[in-house]
C-alpha cells in the first residue's frame, strides 16, 4: 500500500522552487544596503559606561569594542531583524533584539548586569527565528543564556529547545543519540536518522563512522553502544558549551556527511569569568568549572572541566555511568589588518583546542540477583584541533582547520550461558573438520576493543564583495578526512562462544580484529555563495547557493580511486519584502557516508553439520562439520542521498514577538541496511563405519560422501536499500512579554510523519525451519514492510522573569498531540510475493496465481506487524526556578514531570504514552571568585 502524503513530493518542490525563483525577480533594480549601528554599553545598576565590552551582531562577523565612553559602532549592518550581543568579563552577556532599517544609522544602547538573571530580556529558550552563522536554512540557535539556565547534562538536554524534540530527564543513563526531523518508527529509523545528523564541535565533525563496538547482526551479547547510529552525545557536557546551532533545514555546501541536519557546537573559549557549578538529584551528580583569562595582550587561554555521575536505579542495582570531560583552549590574535566588514581584524587568528573525555558505564555483578552478569563500557577520547584564520585583505580570508581525533573504546560483557550439547568447530578457514561437542553451563566473556581514529583537514577561502548589484560572501573549500579503527576488535575465548543459538548451519562468531579493516578515506570540494541585496523598497533578498562534491575513495587513502561520488547542489532563498515578514525556501541534496562496519563487514561463518553422532560415552561421539565463509562485502555500496526541501515564513510582530512556520520534506534514499541475500551451501552426507555402543571408540566417516544436499542460507550483505521519508510542519511562536506580569510565552511544535522502508524482501519466520528441513522444497518471501511513525508535539514555555529579584521561573508543558507507530504490509495468506528454492533462487509469483492449489504450502499468514493505534493526547510539565544568591551565586531547582503524570499505558486499542517519572534536583553555581571571598 502506498503511503498517502498530505503534500505530494512534486507539489512540495514546486512550492519551494517557485518561492526561490520568484524572489530574484522581485529584486531587480535595487542597490546593496548600507546601515550602521551605534550606541553605548552601560552598567544596568549605575548607568556608568562599560569599557572594553565586545559588541557583536549574531550571525555575522561584525564586532566592535567599546571605548572609554562605552561607545560602539558596527557597520555595515544587514538590515532587518538582528540580534545585538554585548560581552564583557565581569558581566553577564546582554542580548538585544533590534530591527535595523536599510541605509540608516541606528542607535541602540545596551545595559549589562553583573548577574545573568538580572539582565533585562534574558533569553532562556532557543532563538525561535535565529540563524546559524553563515547559514540561511531553518535553524534554532541556543545561546549562552539559555544554556546556563537549561537543565542539561549533555548536548541532548539542550536540544530539547528545538521544535519537535521530546523532553527527557537529565542524566547519563543510556546512549543518547540525536535525530532531527524524524518521527520514531518501530524499525531502525531512529538509528538511521541519528547517523545522518551531523555534529560539528569546534569546527570539526564528530564522527561515528569508525565505531565498531557491536557484536554484529548475529551477536547474542548486547553491548550498549552507538555503533551504527549517531554519536553518543553524552560525551559533550552542556556546561562547557558556548553556543549551539541546530540547522534543521538545508545546510550550506560547507557541511557534508549528513542526511538529517547539522548541529554546530561551540565550546567555551576566550576570556570569561571563571565559574563553578554543581548539580544534584537523586540519580545524577555533576560538577563543572569553566574559566578563561587573557594571558597576554593577544593571547587568551581557557579551561573547562565537567565531572558527572548517574546511578539510574541506586536502590535496585549498583549500575552507574560517569563522565569526565575537559578542554584546554588557546586563542591568539596576531597582527591586525583593516577589514571591510569588521573594521579591524587580526591578521592571523589561531584557535587551539585539546579535548579529553572519558565515559564509563559500569554494570557490576549482583551475586544475589543476577550472578555472573557483568558488563562495562569505557570510551576515552582525545581531540586536537587547530584552526587558523588568515586575513588576506579587505574581505578576504583563508581558514585552515586540522584535527586529530582518537577514541579508545573498551567494552566487556559476561553472562552465564546454558545450552545442550552441540557439535562445534573453531575453524577459521573453509573446509571440513572433525569437531567436538560443547555444552553445559559456562561464563561467556566478550571483549570489544576499538580504537577509532579520525584525521580531518579543511582548507577554505572566504571572499566578500559586490557583484551585479548583490553583496556576496563566497566560500570555497576542500575537505579531507580519513577514518580507521586499529583496535584488537571482537575478542572472546573461542572455546566458550557467547552464543547458544546454533541451529546446525549459522556458524558461531569468530573473533575479529578491527585493525585489519582498511581505512575510510573521503574528500570533498564545495563552493558556496551567500548573496544579498535590497528589494521592494526596504525589503531584502538573501540567496545562498552552492554545491558540494563528496568523494568516497575505494581504498584507505585520498590518492586511490573513487568508489563513489555525489554532487550536491543546495539553494536557500530568503525574501523579506517588509521588515516584519520573511519568506523562505530551500532545496538541496546532502549525502552520508556508509560507516566502516558497513563498508567492511566481517566475514560470515556457516558451520554445516555433516555428521552428528552423539553417544552417551564421550569417547564414542563423532561430529563432522564443514565450515563455509561468505564475504558479505558489497563493492557497490555508496553514499546515502537525501533530498531536502522546505518552505516557510516568519512574522516579526514587534516587542520580541514572532511567529515562524516551516513545512519540510526530507527524503533519504539509499541508506545502508542489511540485505538478506539468498545463497545455498552444498552439504556432504557421509555413511559411517560400523560402530558398536560401548566399544569406546568413535565411528569414522566413509569417503567419498554418498550424496550431497543443499542448505539455503541468507548472507547478510550491507546494501543501499533503506528509504526514510519524513515530512512535517514546524511552528515557533514567541509572544510579547506581559509587562506587569513580567511573563512571556513561547510555543513551539512539530508534526512529523516518517516512512521507513526497506527496498528488499523479507523471509519471515518460516525461513529457519525451511533451512533445516531438507524435505521442504521452498519457502515464501514477502516484500519488506513499510514502517510508519507519526508524532505531533507541542511545547509551551511560560517564562516569568523578575530582573529585580534575579528570578526566572520556567514552566514547560509538552503535549503529545499524536503518537503513532505502525507497519504497512500484507498479513493475509496471499500477501507473499514469491518463494525461495533450496538452491537459492527467488521465484516471484503474480498475485493472481497465489491462490492456486500448487501454492497451498506457501499460503501462510504473516505476523509481527504493528497496527495503527495512536496513543491519546497527553501532557506533562517541567518546572524550573533559578534565583540569584548572595555572592553572585545562582540556585536553580528543576523538576522533570513535576506533577508526576503517568501518561497512558498501552492497551489493546491504543499505543502507550508513558512519561518518565518525576525527578527533581538542584543546581548551584557561583563565580570562582567567591572562593576568594569565602576563604581569605
Amino acid at each position: 500500500m502506498a503511503p498517502v502524503w498530505p503534500l505530494s513530493s512534486g507539489a512540495f518542490r514546486l512550492i519551494a522552487v517557485l518561492g526561490i525563483l520568484a524572489a530574484p525577480a522581485a529584486a531587480a533594480g535595487q542597490s546593496r544596503p548600507a546601515a550602521a549601528l551605534t550606541g553605548r554599553v552601560l552598567d544596568a545598576a549605575s548607568l556608568e559606561p562599560v569599557v572594553q565590552a565586545q559588541v557583536t551582531l549574531e550571525g555575522t562577523n561584525l564586532v566592535s569594542v567599546t571605548d572609554t565612553a562605552g561607545r560602539y559602532r558596527l557597520a555595515p549592518v544587514p538590515p532587518g531583524r538582528q540580534v545585538l550581543r554585548a560581552e564583557r568579563i565581569g558581566y553577564a552577556a546582554a542580548r538585544v533584539d533590534i530591527v535595523v532599517p536599510t541605509g540608516r544609522v541606528s542607535v541602540q544602547d545596551i545595559r549589562m548586569a553583573r548577574r545573568a538573571l538580572e539582565v533585562e530580556g534574558i533569553t532562556v529558550t532557543a532563538d525561535p527565528v535565529g540563524r546559524a552563522r553563515g547559514e540561511l536554512g531553518t535553524a534554532s540557535v541556543i545561546g549562552q543564556d539559555a544554556i546556563r539556565v537549561q537543565v542539561a547534562t549533555s548536548l541532548a538536554g539542550l536540544l530539547e529547545l528545538v521544535p519537535g524534540m521530546s523532553l527527557q530527564p537529565p542524566g547519563l543513563d543510556n546512549v543518547q543519540q540525536v535525530s532531527l526531523r524524524a518521527a520514531p518508527t518501530a524499525g531502525g529509523s531512529g538509528d538511521l536518522s541519528s547517523f545522518g545528523t551531523l555534529i560539528i564541535m569546534d569546527g570539526v565533525p564528530l564522527s561515528n563512522n569508525a565505531n565498531l563496538q557491536t557484536t554484529g547482526p548475529r551477536g547474542e551479547t548486547a553491548i550498549a553502544s552507538s555503533a551504527g547510529g549517531g554519536i553518543d552525545v553524552r560525551r559533550i557536557p552542556a556546561s562547557t558549551l558556548e553556543r549551539v546551532e541546530v540547522i534543521r533545514g538545508v545546510p550550506s555546501a560547507r557541511y557534508g556527511d549528513l542526511t538529517q541536519g547539522a548541529i554546530i557546537v561551540d565550546t567555551r573559549a576566550g576570556e570569561f569569568d571563571p565559574e563553578l557549578s554543581a548539580r544534584f538529584d537523586a540519580r545524577t551528580s555533576e560538577a563543572a568549572f569553566a574559566g578563561g583569562r587573557r594571558v597576554t595582550g593577544s593571547h587568551t587561554a581557557a579551561v573547562t572541566m565537567d565531572v558527572a555521575r548517574t546511578r539510574p536505579s541506586s536502590s535496585l542495582t549498583n549500575n552507574e555511568t560517569y563522565r569526565v570531560a575537559a578542554q584546554v583552549s588557546h586563542r591568539a590574535r596576531l597582527g591586525s589588518i583593516a577589514d571591510a566588514l569588521d573594521g579591524q581584524d587580526a591578521r592571523l587568528f589561531l584557535d587551539t583546542r585539546i579535548d579529553v573525555f572519558q565515559l564509563y558505564s559500569d554494570n557490576p555483578e549482583d551475586p544475589v540477583v543476577a550472578p555472573g552478569h557483568v558488563s562495562w563500557n569505557q570510551d576515552r577520547g582525545i581531540r586536537l584541533i587547530e584552526r587558523a584564520r588568515l586575513a588576506l585583505g579587505p574581505g578576504a580570508r583563508l581558514h585552515v582547520t586540522a584535527a586529530l581525533d582518537h577514541t579508545r573504546q573498551r567494552s566487556f560483557a559476561q553472562a552465564p550461558k546454558i545450552r545442550g550439547a552441540m557439535p562445534f568447530t573453531d575453524r577459521l578457514t573453509e573446509g571440513r573438520a572433525t569437531g567436538r561437542y560443547i555444552g553445559g553451563t559456562y561464563l561467556a566473556p566478550v571483549h570489544l576493543e576499538g580504537d577509532p581514529w579520525l584525521v580531518y583537514t579543511r582548507l577554505e577561502g572566504e571572499l566578500q564583495g559586490d557583484l551585479l548589484d548583490f553583496g556576496h560572501e563566497v566560500r570555497a573549500g576542500v575537505e579531507w578526512r580519513r577514518e580507521w579503527n586499529d583496535g584488537s576488535g571482537y575478542q572472546f575465548d573461542i572455546e566458550f562462544p557467547p552464543q547458544v543459538r546454533f541451529n546446525g548451519v549459522q556458524g558461531f562468531d569468530r573473533p575479529r580484529p578491527f585493525s585489519a579493516i582498511p581505512a575510510l578515506a573521503t574528500g570533498a570540494f564545495y563552493l558556496d555563495d551567500r548573496m544579498s541585496r535590497p528589494v521592494l523598497g526596504e525589503g531584502l533578498l538573501n540567496v545562498q547557493a552552492g554545491a558540494r562534491l563528496d568523494l568516497l575513495h575505494d581504498r584507505g587513502h585520498w590518492f586511490s580511486g573513487i568508489r563513489d561520488a555525489l554532487l550536491q547542489p543546495r539553494l536557500n532563498v530568503e525574501l523579506a519584502p517588509r521588515q516584519w515578514l520573511r519568506l523562505r525556501g530551500g532545496i538541496g541534496t546532502t549525502a552520508k557516508l556508509p560507516n566502516l562496519g558497513q563498508l567492511q563487514p566481517g566475514p560470515q561463518y556457516y558451520d554445516v553439520v555433516n555428521v552428528n553422532r552423539f553417544s552417551n560415552d564421550p569417547a564414542e561421539r563423532l561430529a563432522v562439520l564443514t565450515t563455509f565463509i561468505r564475504d558479505p562485502t558489497n563493492p557497490d555500496l555508496g553514499y546515502a542521498r537525501a533530498n531536502k526541501a522546505e518552505a516557510g515564513f516568519e512574522l516579526d510582530l514587534g516587542h520580541s514577538a514572532s511567529v515562524g512556520v516551516v513545512a519540510f520534506r526530507d527524503g533519504v534514499h539509499g541508506a545502508v541496511g542489511i540485505s538478506p541475500e539468498p545463497r545455498f551451501l552444498l552439504r556432504d552426507i557421509y555413511e559411517l563405519t560400523d560402530s558398536v555402543e560401548g566399544n569406546g571408540v568413535p565411528p569414522r566417516i566413509i569417503e567419498p560422501p554418498v550424496r550431497a544436499d543443499t542448505v539455503p542460507i541468507l548472507v547478510d550483505r550491507p546494501a543501499n536499500n533503506l528509504r526514510l521519508l519524513s515530512e512535517g510542519l514546524e511552528l515557533t511562536a514567541s509572544f510579547p512579554e506581559i509587562p506587569r506580569l513580567r511573563t512571556r510565552v513561547q510555543v513551539q511544535g512539530a508534526w512529523i510523519r516518517s516512512e521507513f522502508h526497506k527496498d528488499d524482501i523479507d523471509f519471515g519466520h518460516p525461513f529457519s525451519d525451511f533451512q533445516l528441513d531438507g524435505r521442504d522444497p521452498r519457502t515464501p518471501y514477502w516484500e519488506a514492510i513499510t514502517r510508519l511513525g507519526e508524532r505531533a508535539l507541542l511545547t509551551y514555555r511560560l517564562v516569568h522573569h523578575q530582573p529585580e529579584l534575579g528570578l526566572v521561573v520556567t514552566a514547560t508543558v509538552q503535549q503529545t498531540l499524536k503518537l503513532d507507530r505502525h507497519d504497512m504490509g500484507g498479513t493475509d495468506s496471499l500477501s507473499w510475493a514469491g518463494y525461495l528454492t533450496r538452491d537459492g533462487r527467488l521465484i516471484p509469483v503474480p498475485r493472481e496465481e497465489r491462490g492456486q492449489a500448487q501454492y497451498r504450502d506457501l499460503r501462510v499468514g504473516r505476523s509481527g506487524l504493528s497496527e495503527p493505534r495512536p496513543a491519546p493526547s497527553d501532557w506533562f510539565l517541567n518546572l524550573q526556578v533559578s534565583k540569584t544568591l548572595p555572592l553572585d551565586g545562582r540556585l536553580s531547582f528543576y523538576a522533570f514531570n513535576a506533577l508526576d503524570r503517568r501518561g497512558r499505558f498501552p492497551t489493546s486499542t491504543n499505543n502507550g504514552l508513558v512519561f518518565p517519572p518525576m525527578r527533581f534536583g538542584l543546581e548551584l553555581s557561583a563565580p570562582a571568585a567567591v572562593l576568594e571571598r569565602l576563604v581569605p
Partner: protein, 550 residues
C-alpha cells in the same frame, strides 16, 4: 491529612509569640520534626499554599515551641500574616528581609507509634525572604531543602502515615531509607489602584525516597503543587480590609517495594478491618493522589489599639489510592469536607509589652470507599480547637522575656463500618513556655527557653486483639498512644553574634522530650521520645530582629 492544621497554622500564625509546636511522632519526619518548627514562626509562612493545603492530623502530643526572641521580630497580625492572603502583600510588606538557616536534628526513642521511624536524622537548609517589588507590588518566597535518614524506617510504605486517610500501605520490612525533599513557594501581590489588590501564591514540593541496596528495596516519590488566588479590598472609612480567596492543590505519591532478594508481605490498611496480604509478583506499587480545594473570606483591621484578623474557610479534599498500573485502575477513595474559623489579635501595652492571642476551630468529616465494595466503609468526624495567648516583654536594660500559654482540644470519632469498630478520642493538650534573653555585649546576645505541656486524653477504643494480628500490631498501639496521658517538654538556648556591620549569625540548640504519664494504657508503647536540634542561621540583608539594647 489535616485540614484542620491549615487553620491552626493560619491563626496560629496570628498568635504567635511562639514558633510551631514540636510533635515528636510521624513518618513524615521533615514536616513534623524538622527544623521547620524551630526555624520559622508560623506567621512567617501563613501565606504558604502548601501548608494551607495540609489536612487534619492527630497530634499525639506536642511541647510548646520556642519564642525565638533573638531570631525573629515580634509576630504580626494581618490578612497576610494571619490568614495567609497573598493579595495583602503590598499592604503589609514594606521592608526587605531575607534569612537563611541550616540545621540538623535527630529523633529517637521508643515512645512512638508503629508507623513512626524508630530513629531519624534530618539535615535541612532553608531560606525565606520578602520585599516590596516596584511601587505597587510585594513578594515573598521560601526555599526549603531537606535530607532525612530513617534508620530504620517503619513498615509504612507511604509518606503520610498519620494523616486522616484510613488507607495505608505497609509491609513487613524495616530498611534504612534516605529521603530528599525540596519545597519552593512564592507569593506576589499587586495593588490595583488605592483600594484593591490581587495576589497569587504558588507552591511546589517534591520528595524522593529510596533504600540503598537492601533485599527489599523501597522507592517512593511525591509531588505536591498548590495555587491560591486572592483579592483584597481596603475600606479605609471603616478601618478594615476584606479579602476573598480560592485555592487548589494536588498531591501525588507513589510508593513501591521490590522483592529483590527476600520475600515480603504487604498489607493495605483500610481502617480497623484486618487486611489480607496483598498478592503481587516481584514488585508492589501504590499510587496516591489527593485533590484539595478551599475558598474563604478574611477580614482584618485596627480597633482600640489592637490589630486583629479573622477568617472563615470551607474546604474539601478527594483522595484516591490504587495499586494497578492501568489507565483507570480500581481506586479506594477518601473524601473530606470541613471548615475552619479563626481569629487573632495583637496589642501593645505601653512601649515594652506586646500581647498576642489567637483561637481557631477546624472541623472535618471524612468518608472512605473501597473499590471492591459499595457505599462507605469508614467514616470520621474530627474537630480541633486550638489557641494561644502570648506576652512579650520588649528589651530593656539588656533583658527581654516572653511567655506563652497554649491549649488544644482534639476530638476524633472514627468508625469502621466493615469491621463495625469505633474509636472515640478526645484530648486536651495544655502548656506554657517561657524564654529569657540577655544582651551580653553589642555583638553577643543569649537566650534560653523552657516549655512544658500536659496531654490528657479520654478514649473509647476497640479491644486491641479483636480484629486480628495486623490491627493489634499496627493500629492498636497508635490508638493506645493517643489515649495515653503524657508530658512534653522542651528547652533550648540561642546565641547570636554580630560582627561589626556584618550580618548577625545565630546558633541554636534545642532538646525536646515526650513521655507517657500515669498508668500505661494496654498496647501503648513505653519509654520516651526525644529530639535534638542544632541550627545556624543568618540574616543577610534588610530589616532584622530588633536587637535588645544593652
Amino acid at each position: 491529612m489535616t485540614i484542620l492544621r491549615m487553620a491552626r497554622l493560619r491563626v496560629g500564625a496570628a498568635a504567635a509569640l511562639i514558633s510551631a509546636p514540636l510533635p515528636l511522632a510521624g513518618q513524615d519526619v521533615a514536616a513534623d520534626l524538622a527544623p521547620g518548627a524551630p526555624v520559622l514562626p508560623d506567621w512567617s509562612t501563613a501565606w504558604s499554599p502548601l501548608e494551607q493545603a495540609r489536612g487534619i492530623r492527630w497530634d499525639a502530643a506536642s511541647a510548646p515551641g520556642r519564642l525565638d526572641l533573638l531570631a525573629w521580630p515580634a509576630p504580626r497580625v494581618g490578612l497576610l500574616w494571619s490568614a495567609g492572603v497573598a493579595a495583602a502583600l503590598p499592604f503589609e510588606v514594606q521592608e526587605i528581609s531575607s534569612r537563611f538557616h541550616a540545621s540538623a536534628a535527630q529523633v529517637a526513642g521508643e515512645y512512638r507509634r508503629p508507623l513512626d521511624p524508630p530513629e531519624a536524622q534530618v539535615g535541612r537548609v532553608l531560606g525565606i525572604g520578602w520585599r516590596p517589588l516596584g511601587e505597587r507590588g510585594a513578594v515573598v518566597g521560601k526555599v526549603d531543602v531537606g535530607r532525612e535518614w530513617l534508620r530504620p524506617a517503619s513498615v509504612a510504605l507511604g509518606l503520610e502515615s498519620y494523616g486522616g486517610t484510613p488507607f495505608l500501605p505497609t509491609d513487613t520490612a524495616h530498611p534504612d531509607v534516605a529521603r530528599t525533599r525540596v519545597t519552593l513557594e512564592g507569593a506576589g501581590g499587586y495593588r490595583l489602584g488605592d483600594r484593591w489588590a490581587g495576589g497569587i501564591a504558588l507552591g511546589y514540593a517534591a520528595l524522593d525516597s529510596r533504600t540503598d541496596r537492601t533485599p527489599l528495596p523501597r522507592r517512593g516519590r511525591a509531588a505536591s503543587s498548590s495555587a491560591a488566588l486572592s483579592v483584597v479590598r481596603s475600606i479605609p472609612s471603616a478601618g478594615i480590609a476584606v479579602a476573598g480567596y480560592v485555592r487548589r492543590s494536588r498531591w501525588t505519591e507513589q510508593a513501591s517495594v521490590t522483592e529483590q532478594a527476600a520475600r515480603d508481605l504487604v498489607f493495605e490498611l483500610q481502617g480497623f478491618s484486618e487486611p489480607e496480604p496483598v498478592s503481587f509478583s516481584v514488585g508492589y506499587s501504590r499510587r496516591m493522589q489527593r485533590d484539595e480545594h478551599g475558598y474563604g473570606i478574611g477580614m482584618a483591621g485596627h480597633a482600640l489599639g489592637t490589630a486583629w484578623s479573622a477568617f472563615g474557610e470551607f474546604r474539601e479534599s478527594d483522595e484516591g489510592h490504587s495499586s494497578q498500573f492501568s489507565n483507570d485502575p480500581p481506586t479506594d477513595r477518601w473524601t473530606v469536607s470541613g471548615y475552619a474559623l479563626g481569629v487573632a489579635a495583637a496589642r501593645s501595652v505601653g512601649e515594652r509589652v506586646a500581647i498576642t492571642a489567637r483561637a481557631d476551630l477546624e472541623q472535618g468529616t471524612g468518608r472512605a470507599e473501597r473499590h471492591d465494595l459499595t457505599g462507605a466503609v469508614f467514616r470520621s468526624e474530627e474537630r480541633v480547637l486550638d489557641g494561644a495567648v502570648g506576652l512579650r516583654l520588649l528589651p530593656s536594660g539588656g533583658w527581654a522575656a516572653g511567655l506563652a500559654f497554649t491549649f488544644t482540644r482534639q476530638e476524633r470519632l472514627r468508625r469502621d463500618l466493615v469491621a463495625e469498630l469505633t474509636a472515640d478520642l478526645q484530648a486536651w493538650n495544655t502548656g506554657g513556655t517561657v524564654e529569657i534573653a540577655r544582651v551580653v555585649s553589642s555583638r553577643l546576645a543569649l537566650s534560653a527557653s523552657y516549655g512544658a505541656a500536659l496531654y490528657g486524653p479520654t478514649a473509647a477504643l476497640p479491644r486491641p486483639e479483636e480484629p486480628g494480628e495486623v490491627f493489634s500490631r499496627i493500629i492498636a498501639p497508635e490508638l493506645a498512644m493517643a489515649a495515653q496521658r503524657g508530658v512534653a517538654q522542651q528547652a533550648g538556648v540561642n546565641l547570636r553574634w554580630q560582627s561589626g556591620r556584618g550580618s548577625p549569625v545565630s546558633i541554636d540548640v534545642r532538646h525536646a522530650r515526650f513521655a507517657p504519664n500515669g498508668v500505661l494504657v494496654p498496647s501503648a508503647p513505653s519509654g520516651e521520645r526525644s529530639m535534638w536540634t542544632i541550627g545556624v542561621g543568618v540574616v543577610l540583608d534588610g530589616t532584622r530582629a530588633p536587637p535588645p539594647s544593652p
